[in-house]
């Protein structure tokens, strides 16, 4: 952390952001069910207040680096558990995305969720708390609590408010992600115990920066990394751990799907960036090419499977698998632009897939089916709907001047020039055995995803909007109502805003991404240099955020 930030005045902004929705959610449970208007007003008010409050996070965030708005106090001293919150460029926009989408989702849901609205609102607000908490927690215990806490409201949202097969989906969602995080818990406990052994004063600590200092022998590191990676990869979800996602999405109500796709999945990629990779740079470097391969496989596989779906929501769900592949690839590539692109792409995916789920929900509300074969020619009766859908489609397939392009382009070009993904080869070309950067291979595979994206999305658009209006049930469909328009317009604006002025967003991501990479590389060198047999404590200077380097603009 840089001294200027450390000297900043104490602030409780993050605490407010984390706890206010939960408190409001509990408060709402005590409000009378008979006055839904009041329930809605309170929920929306809290949501909008949160959003406004979260915009304060942006103040001074341009080109800033290191954790900001830090709160760090003791919580359970005997176990070394601290209440440590902080935000930086990796999490900033994810938090803002969460606060932006939650009121929007609530507002949309008021139209479609009729029964048990109170519980729904409470669950949503609780979920918001848990998600923001997980994004800003810098204490592993705290993080784990939020991480698991997230599952409960989402489980309820799917299991109570979902579709016909909701219980199966909810249980699968819960057990799958929960089983994954058990591995992480074991790894965390191992790390904490190791820290206690190595620490001169033999104290426990769950603190992010303390645990950062641990170095492990190679295979221990790999085992720990895999434990973290599995739990995050399930959340992302990465191929082949993705099968819970289509089920969860199909059964979840529109709002649940939106939040699930837009925010919760990002916790997986965020976990890789914040924890799994910086904790275990040696291992993640070693396993990196495999993960990148899985990411590419996910991009292509997700697209291929999405293409053959008949259920609209499943199509969007598999498209998420494909899009998240880009994010993972960008993170693993670890070039400033690829990783910045990955962070931006996770925001983009939140916006465009959130909007897609919203749009699918619109026709589901009207027709109570998501079977693509049931539709056709809707552009005739629902022109506004078609316009928004095509805009979102274009964003989803990465058309330039929409948000999708910038992220995908940065990831592809960034991965191309990453010479970090290396495989050994033993061909004597000129000077003996060597390593070859396989960035171009991964980038080319990812670029194919751009093509496949167009194939499945346009086919869906054609099935729904073009062609004759044959199905008599679709003749009388109503176009977007006011509520849906109000929800969609901000999303559309963001799609174009990020497309046209991405720098407004990347300028607060880039410095921290650069710092993240520098820190990672610095620690990786320290970890690989020592061929240790047992865990050891790295020196402070090995894990400190390295001094800011001026960006090497205008290369060559």
């Amino acid at each position: 952390m840089e001294p200027t930030q450390a000297a900043a005045a104490p602030t409780h902004l993050l605490s407010v952001l984390v706890w206010l929705p939960a408190i409001a959610g509990i408060f709402i449970l005590f409000l009378p069910r008979q006055s839904p208007g009041m329930l809605r007003a309170v929920a929306l008010g809290v949501g909008l207040f949160e959003f406004g409050k979260s915009l304060q996070l942006l103040i001074g965030s341009d080109y800033a680096r290191g954790f900001r708005f830090v709160e760090n106090v003791e919580w359970i001293p005997s176990m070394g558990i601290r209440y440590h919150l902080g935000i930086d460029g990796l999490s900033l926009w994810l938090v803002v995305l969460t606060t932006f989408l939650t009121p929007l989702v609530l507002y949309v849901s008021f139209g479609s969720i009729k029964a048990r609205q109170k519980e729904y609102i409470a669950a949503m607000l609780l979920l918001q708390s848990a998600m923001i908490g997980a994004f800003v927690a810098l204490d592993l215990f705290l993080f784990y609590v939020f991480w698991e806490l997230m599952l409960v409201p989402m489980y309820l949202i799917i299991g109570v408010f979902g579709g016909p097969n909701r219980v199966y989906a909810a249980v699968k969602f819960f057990i799958y992600t929960f089983a994954g995080s058990i591995f992480m818990l074991v790894a965390i406990v191992y790390m904490v115990v190791t820290f206690k052994e190595l620490d001169p004063s033999h104290r426990y600590s769950f603190d992010y920066q303390d645990l950062m200092r641990l170095g492990f022998p190679r295979w221990t590191e790999v085992a720990l990394f895999v434990a973290f990676a599995v739990s995050f990869a399930i959340k992302v979800p990465m191929f082949p751990l993705h099968t819970w996602l289509p089920d969860a999405h199909t059964e979840a109500p529109t709002g649940g799907s939106m939040i699930l796709a837009a925010v919760m999945l990002k916790l997986g990629t965020y976990g890789f960036m914040r924890f799994a990779m910086p904790f275990f740079p040696g291992a993640s470097h070693m396993v990196g090419p495999t993960i990148a391969g899985l990411a590419c496989a996910g991009i292509l596989y997700g697209a291929a499977v999405a293409w053959r779906q008949k259920d609209f929501k499943k199509l969007v769900a598999y498209s998420s698998v494909s899009h998240l592949g880009f994010v993972m690839l960008g993170i693993i590539a670890r070039t400033p632009q690829a990783t910045t692109g990955a962070v931006l792409q996770s925001i983009n995916h939140g916006i465009s897939t959130g909007a897609l789920f919203l749009l699918v929900g619109v026709i589901y509300d009207r027709r109570h089916t998501r079977d693509l074969g049931e539709f056709g020619g809707l552009a005739k009766v629902m022109p506004k709907y078609a316009t928004f859908f095509i805009l979102v489609t274009m964003s989803s397939i990465g058309l330039p001047f929409t948000n999708g392009f910038v992220g995908e382009f940065l990831v592809i070009t960034g991965t191309f020039t990453a010479d970090l993904l290396r495989i050994p080869y033993h061909v004597e070309r000129s000077s003996g055995p060597s390593f070859v950067g396989m960035g171009p291979l991964y980038a080319s595979l990812a670029a194919l995803g751009v093509l496949f994206g167009a194939i499945y999305m346009l086919e869906a658009v054609q099935k729904v909007f073009w062609g004759p209006l044959n199905n008599p049930k679709n003749r009388k469909l109503k176009d977007l109502n006011e509520r849906e328009l109000i929800a969609l317009i901000p999303l559309a604006i963001l799609i174009l805003w990020i497309g046209l002025r991405p720098q407004d967003f990347t300028k607060s991501i880039e410095p921290d991404v650069q710092g993240w990479i520098d820190q990672y590389e610095q620690k990786r060198v320290a970890v690989t240099r020592l061929g240790a047999q047992r865990p050891w404590m790295l020196s402070e200077s090995d894990v400190r955020l390295p001094p800011r380097r001026e960006p090497r603009a205008e290369a060559r």
Binding site: F409, T413, F416, T417, P440, L458, E554, A555
Partner: protein
């Protein structure tokens, strides 16, 4: 709008200062771009409110403004280009630029570049700008007549304006990324406009096909520009150019590097056995492109998509599903020439890679031939024109491939004029004949639609290269001459091959275009007397689905036997303008043979497209004047022969013999004829080798791998706990009596265990030597008897002591460990007795000493 004009008027006098003082502040470029975008927004969102007239005015005015601003900017550029420069200073390329704002930072090798929304007007973009906005304006005007009965007029003009905006991005963008914005943007508009009458599934499918085929190319563009930027250090054209133009350029060295992973691919293909014959085989087979060559090739793949070249041309003929003015503007005059424009833009890179140039030249020439062969036998007016466009684009690519970029661009320019005129003429014919466009139904139209006829005649004359008076002649002649004169450094045969192929292509062009002309305008009008049974494909114009399912303009309501009629002036005036341009446009590019100096066109583009001293254009240096003249004369003679043969044949077959020879030939060579009519069955081939396998693989992934394999495994893991659960579930009978019984039984069992079976926990430790201490923990009222020494006898009676020490005798242990056994008899309160034994390990050192 008036505010814009007045502000423009205020600054006009200072424009000269402005340009030099603020290089990125030439805001006229911004106005050129923004006005069609404004039109798109107004028509798109408020189209219904401002009404039909409002939409027309908005659309035409915004594009017209854009054209006027373009003219203004072009003349400013012209003045800058010809401005006197200071003594000794180099005359850099003239350019005007405008920065909107910073866009994003993109990776370049180890560093980054700041990409801006920066638009640049230079000589190259200047001519494209005029063509696009000029033709665009005319077609907008024409469209107000053509679409006058269509319900979706607002949507149509919104798309068309958006297209103009995208196309301008493509032309004016200063970097490859910004070009790509336009590149994909025009693709989107093309998609929307092809599927404009979306209720027709076939049209919508055509739009989708266009977009997806273009996307295949776009993947190539993304990869190509990534490599190029990585190796040269910039996405901006100017930066790449500067990097390459220095002596001993690092960028050039970097571009010529060979990718290492050729080895790796071979390594994998030979399963890691680098000493094997298999490995050697792969090393020979895998081509060693340099990075630069790969970049150029990938970018060219993008061009084959956008500009409909082999093998990605298949979308363009289908794209004729869109309204005819769209075909004229997007699929003939402007968008499809974007590939040529990209090649010209990057010509300074391409000239370093002769092999890629050879590929481009050959692909272009083959496309020219191939598409022309299909056009020979097609019966639909627009289909013929579509294949003609593909063929003419082949000419342009062939020109670029032999290094004659300015000639290729010259053909872009002349082709835009006459092909737009032809397409609009076709639209006029269809408008006049109630959407009939089958050549077998048309005929004799010259008396009904005189304006259309005249302009169509002139444009046809231009495309078939009528000598000396038409633009098509000069541009085609320039291409033929440059092809003949070119010398590809790696593949010397390319020039001759291209020349021969293009002459053959030109002959076919002359033939099919004259066939089209004669069958449409000469002879007798057959349309209304048509016997429908003879024409299974003929569809009665439908009256109820007015204006949506097809290219209908409301003439369905007229009396069925009205003769075809001429169109309103808004439609034929643009035709005259374009026809006029088809004639005069060529005079800016008079051949060297006539004038003995570089043509106006060549002179203007010399800095953008001529790169002397590079392997590919060396002819420029080695050609002496007599050799130039002989090549020019050969080319001109060949061009003239192509024109004469094609025209003569068509005349003989379709005018003097009334098509009889054609019918005979087609029936005697049925298979060949059918193959041509079926367009070489390329669509079917692609469907068979690409689409179906891909669909099958996806289906397999979705239905088998995902559903059964992956999710199956997941569910299998889920079964294990569930199996236990199922067992447990069996006992859940719900009968309270059973539960009660089970509880009672359980309690009794526990009680019995405690009461009747004396149990105790025993712990023992070795105190050193053979001395041990044993401790036992039983229940209340327990008593214990001890056997410490391990002889099996219990010397003392039961006592209540819970701890006993003593000496334990060592046992014979097979593994040599030092152990002994202690036993305790335990008696509980009910008098039941049991014996518990423990084996204790004694300290090893003691046994050693003993």
């Amino acid at each position: 709008m008036s505010a814009v004009i007045s502000s423009l008027a205020q600054v006009t006098p200072q424009i000269g200062n402005l340009v030099s003082a603020h290089p990125d502040r030439y805001f006229v470029l911004g106005l050129i771009l923004i006005s069609p975008l404004l039109g798109a927004i107004i028509n798109g969102f408020f189209g219904k409110k401002i009404g039909r007239e409002g939409v027309y005015i908005t659309a035409v005015a915004t594009v017209g403004m854009s054209f006027l601003f373009s003219l203004f900017a072009y003349f400013t550029l012209y003045k800058t280009a010809h401005a006197p420069v200071a003594e000794g200073a180099a005359h850099g390329p003239a350019q005007l630029s405008y920065v909107v704002w910073d866009w994003f930072r993109a990776p370049v090798g180890a560093g980054t570049v700041q990409l801006k929304l920066r638009y640049v007007l230079d000589e190259l973009s200047g001519v494209m700008l005029l063509v696009v906005t000029g033709v665009g304006t005319l077609i907008h005007i024409y469209s107000t007549g053509y679409m006058s009965h269509d319900e979706g007029y607002a949507r149509y003009f919104a798309y068309l304006n958006l297209f103009m905006f995208s196309m301008l991005n493509l032309i004016l963008g200063d970097s490859m990324v910004l070009l790509f914005v336009g590149w994909e943007g025009v693709g989107l508009c093309s998609y929307l406009l092809i599927g404009f009458w979306f209720t027709n599934t076939q049209y919508a499918t055509a739009g989708k096909k266009a977009f997806i085929v273009n996307r295949i190319g776009d993947v190539g563009v993304i990869l190509g520009m990534t490599i190029l930027a990585w190796k040269t250090g910039g996405f901006e054209f100017a930066k790449i150019r500067d990097a390459l133009n220095v002596d001993g350029s690092n960028a050039l060295t970097a571009l010529n590097e060979k990718p290492e992973f050729n080895d790796v691919v071979a390594y994998f293909l030979s399963f890691g056995r680098t000493d094997s014959k298999v490995f050697e085989f792969w090393m020979k087979v895998i081509p060693e492109f340099s990075w630069g060559g790969a970049a150029c090739f990938f970018l060219f793949v993008g061009c084959t998509g956008k500009s409909a070249q082999l093998p990605l041309y298949v979308w363009l003929p289908d794209a004729m599903a869109g309204p005819t003015p769209v075909s004229a503007l997007i699929h003939a005059a402007t968008m499809v020439t974007a590939g040529v424009y990209l090649l010209c833009r990057l010509s300074f890179v391409y000239v370093h890679f002769p092999t890629v140039m050879a590929i481009i030249a050959v692909i272009g020439a083959l496309t020219a031939l191939f598409a022309a062969s299909i056009a020979l036998v097609q019966n639909e007016l627009k289909k013929v024109l579509a294949y003609s466009t593909v063929s003419q684009l082949g000419f342009m690519f062939a020109a670029c491939g032999v290094g004659a970029f300015s000639a290729g661009l010259f053909h872009v320019y002349t082709h835009a004029m006459f092909k737009a005129c032809l397409f609009l003429g076709a639209g006029a014919v269809m408008h006049a004949c109630r959407d009939k466009q089958d050549l077998r139904d048309l005929g004799g139209l010259k008396q009904f639609t005189p304006h259309t006829f005249r302009t169509f005649l002139i444009a046809t004359a231009a495309i078939i290269g009528t000598p000396f008076v038409t633009a098509g002649f000069y541009s085609k002649d320039e291409i033929l001459f440059r092809a003949l004169a070119s010398q590809n450094a790696n593949h010397a045969w390319v020039g001759k091959f291209v020349f021969a192929a293009l002459v053959a292509g030109a002959t076919m062009t002359a033939f099919y275009m004259c066939r089209l002309l004669f069958l449409t305008f000469w002879g007798e009008f057959k349309g209304w007397s048509l016997n429908k049974e003879d024409y299974p494909n003929y569809v009665e114009p439908s009256h109820d689905d007015h204006g949506h399912g097809h290219d209908d303009h409301g003439h369905g309501h007229g009396k069925p036997w009205d003769p075809p009629h001429e169109n309103p002036p808004v439609m034929y005036i643009p035709l005259y303008v374009l026809a006029g341009m088809s004639v005069i446009a060529g005079f800016v590019g008079l051949p060297y043979l006539f004038t003995h100096k570089e043509s106006v066109w060549g002179q203007w583009l010399i800095r953008s497209t001529e790169h002397t001293g590079k392997p590919i254009t060396e002819w420029n240096l080695v050609m002496t004047e007599p050799r130039v003249h002989s090549a020019e004369i050969t080319a001109m003679a060949a061009g003239f022969a192509a024109f004469a043969i094609g025209l003569g044949l068509a005349w003989w077959i379709y005018l003097s013999q009334k098509g009889e020879p054609a019918r005979k030939l087609s029936s005697s060579m049925r298979p060949v004829y059918q193959l041509l009519v079926d367009k070489w069955r390329v669509d079917e081939l692609y469907d068979f080798i690409i689409v179906r396998p891909l669909r099958f693989a996806s289906e397999f992934a979705a239905r088998v791998i995902d559903r059964w394999l992956i999710d199956g495994l997941v569910n299998l893991v889920g079964i294990i706990p569930r199996a236990f659960g199922a067992l447990a579930r069996k006992s859940q009978t719900g009968v309270v009596h059973t539960y009660g019984a089970v509880i009672a039984l359980g309690l009794a069992g526990m009680f019995g265990w405690v009461v009747f079976l004396p149990t105790a926990a025993i712990s023992a430790r070795a105190d050193g030597g053979e001395r041990v201490t044993v401790e036992v923990h039983g229940g209340p009222n327990y008593a214990y008897a001890w056997d410490i020494d391990g002889d099996g006898e219990f010397p003392a009676e039961f006592g209540t002591e819970t701890r006993q020490s003593g000496t334990c005798r060592k046992l014979e242990s097979p593994d040599g460990r030092n152990v002994c056994r202690v036993s305790v008899r335990v008696r509980n309160a009910f008098g039941h007795i049991s014996t518990i034994s423990r084996v204790i390990e004694l300290p090893a050192s003691e046994s050693g000493s003993r």
